[in-house]
Symmetry: C2
């Protein structure tokens, strides 16, 4: 288990989810939607932590647009622990703010930081991995990242290169590698020494506080004495804060970073095609939800929650039907779905945003 | 002009239009829908005839399911001239029934027989062609078919081979050729002597009556004394009548058949891809109706009358959005759309039929 101190979890729920249009909208990004199962992604994230972190120790950092919906979806999380940033400034300020809040409650707490919109197939293995990371973090000053054993040479993820082993399945981090191109990704995976960077972190409040003060002093100072329930003081603090990710701003600079490898069926659900991978697929390789009729059609993803969708002689398409919009997208172009948002804005078709 | 006798038009409106699902439904086949323009196809058919045939001389033969809708769509056509067959038996019985009705009114009338669901781009040229056909029919006992100068080696149409010229632009018919395969169609078009069979016919009441009596005596006799306003007598007559097309049952056997060639932008709108031909297309070759956003997408047909349809990176698709169903079909498979009807029936999803 993760040591004697209390365990808090900080769920980063600020994402816009433009890659899941037309399901995701400005007011309903991916983390607030039931993308994979019948429950929303943030609900699944909280539920998955439940045996390890109770609702009273869950913190969710989000934007003004989504706070109310999050309170509705997570009734067991105390209201004041839905932390609302006045404006998004990437992960470092969000984590710094949550760290300060937890430190006031319990300066010796351990923290798990994780995104609100990842899919994890094996929740028990996930918690086992967190346990190992908590044990490692509890033993000292380490900033522990969770790395994923790669199952393919993905170019959409960052990589972590393992250094010396410091415990079974845990290593010093030699370096972080930004999203590589395809051939570089193949090299990294072939070598065997690299893990995917999951964006999930485990550390003691003290360890991350010191790291923030050292590597991002401007952000740490700006947020040190802020009362997050005072919207005006929070807005003033954020106005002075630059955008900064915790990876680039702290972890890539710190020398006390470790990585714990895990295999728990992790997927960041970066686009519609993630659902093609997750399946289940029918005999023709179609992954289907809702009322769908597929004739001579193979390898398509269809979500027909509103209407009947009929396919005839098509392959490799993503077809998403919603109340006011239908997406028909080639599976190899799902990354371009976010361009639809720009185009809708340009045309002034705001009701579909 | 078409001689001194009055001119009647018989519009055959019995089609089921299964190839236009999901727009066309059992209760709303293609001829009752605004497929090409804002007006329904049967409304366009009547309008196109107007300068030549007044509404009092229009007859529409249809099935029980569609009579009421036709009366609504064609308020100027007298009620009793919406002729309702108790059951569809192909074109020969429909024409025989209408012929009998017109003969009672005016035994010397000329008749134009035409489908309710064809598109004609140049209505004036169409009427000029009908005028020539009427002149030819008026001069004697001829059964005149309207042939279309082929613009491509279509395998979806029947062909008419021209024989001796009997008037400028008018010939004896040497023979009818059933829908050929592609290479045979190329031969037929290359030779120059063949026309597409449009399914549009012009003749005097007497000429077609005699031809029916001679070549289809069973049908002629069964319908001779029927009162079409007496549903019971009509049902009894139809019960005894075999399915028969006018082409196969009469025209291919008769020796007094002529063809008048025309070029008036004719299209039988046999499937969704017909609308791709008719355009207009945008710079990427997409033919679009309604609110459509097409990114990196080429050569698609989209009808978005209900919702926004967004395309990303797709080519050669037919996407038809309706209130309760969306079709996504490869353009080269539009002939298979009718299989959806079978599949819907098999699954018992009757609300989409």
């Amino acid at each position: 288990m993760g040591g004697a101190s209390s365990i808090h979890a900080v769920i980063l729920a600020g994402g816009k989810g433009t890659r899941f249009w037309p399901k995701s909208r400005a007011r309903r990004p991916k983390q607030l939607l039931p993308i994979v199962s019948e429950r929303t992604m943030v609900q699944e994230t909280v539920e998955r932590l439940a045996p390890l972190v109770s609702a009273e120790h869950i913190w969710v950092v989000t934007g003004t647009d989504h706070a109310e919906e999050l309170r509705d979806q997570l009734p067991d999380v105390p209201d004041e622990q839905i932390v609302v940033e006045p404006v998004g400034r990437n992960t470092a300020p969000a984590i710094a703010l949550a760290t300060n809040l937890i430190a006031r409650r319990d300066p010796d707490a351990a923290m798990i930081v994780l995104p609100a919109d990842h899919h994890i197939r094996y929740a028990d293995r996930f918690r086992d991995t967190l346990d190992r990371a908590l044990a490692l973090a509890a033993s000292g000053d380490l900033l522990v990242t969770i790395g994923i054993e790669p199952t393919a040479p993905e170019s959409g993820y960052g990589y972590i290169e393992r250094g010396d082993e410091i415990a079974p399945g845990a290593n010093r981090v030699r370096r972080f590698i930004e999203k590589p191109d395809r051939s570089r990704a193949e090299e990294l995976v072939r070598g065997g020494g690299c893990l995917w960077n999951s964006g999930i972190f485990v550390w003691k409040v003290g360890a991350i506080s010191r790291a923030l003060a050292r590597h991002l002093p401007e952000i740490a100072r700006a947020l040190d004495d802020v009362d997050p329930s005072d919207a005006q003081s929070l807005a003033a603090a954020y106005a002075a804060i630059p955008e900064q990710s915790i990876d680039y701003g702290v972890l890539e600079k710190a020398d006390n970073v470790a990585v714990v490898g895990g295999e728990f069926g992790w997927d960041d659900i970066g686009s519609w095609t993630a659902l093609m991978r997750l399946g289940p697929a029918d005999a023709d390789g179609n992954v289907i939800r809702g009322r769908v009729l597929a004739l001579s059609s193979h390898g398509n993803l269809v979500a027909a929650d509103n209407r009947l969708v009929a396919l005839v002689g098509v392959e490799g398409l993503v077809v998403i039907d919603t109340e006011d919009a239908v997406l028909v997208c080639s599976a190899d172009r799902v990354q371009d779905v976010k361009q639809i948002i720009d185009e809708l804005q340009r045309r002034g078709w705001k009701e579909h945003l």
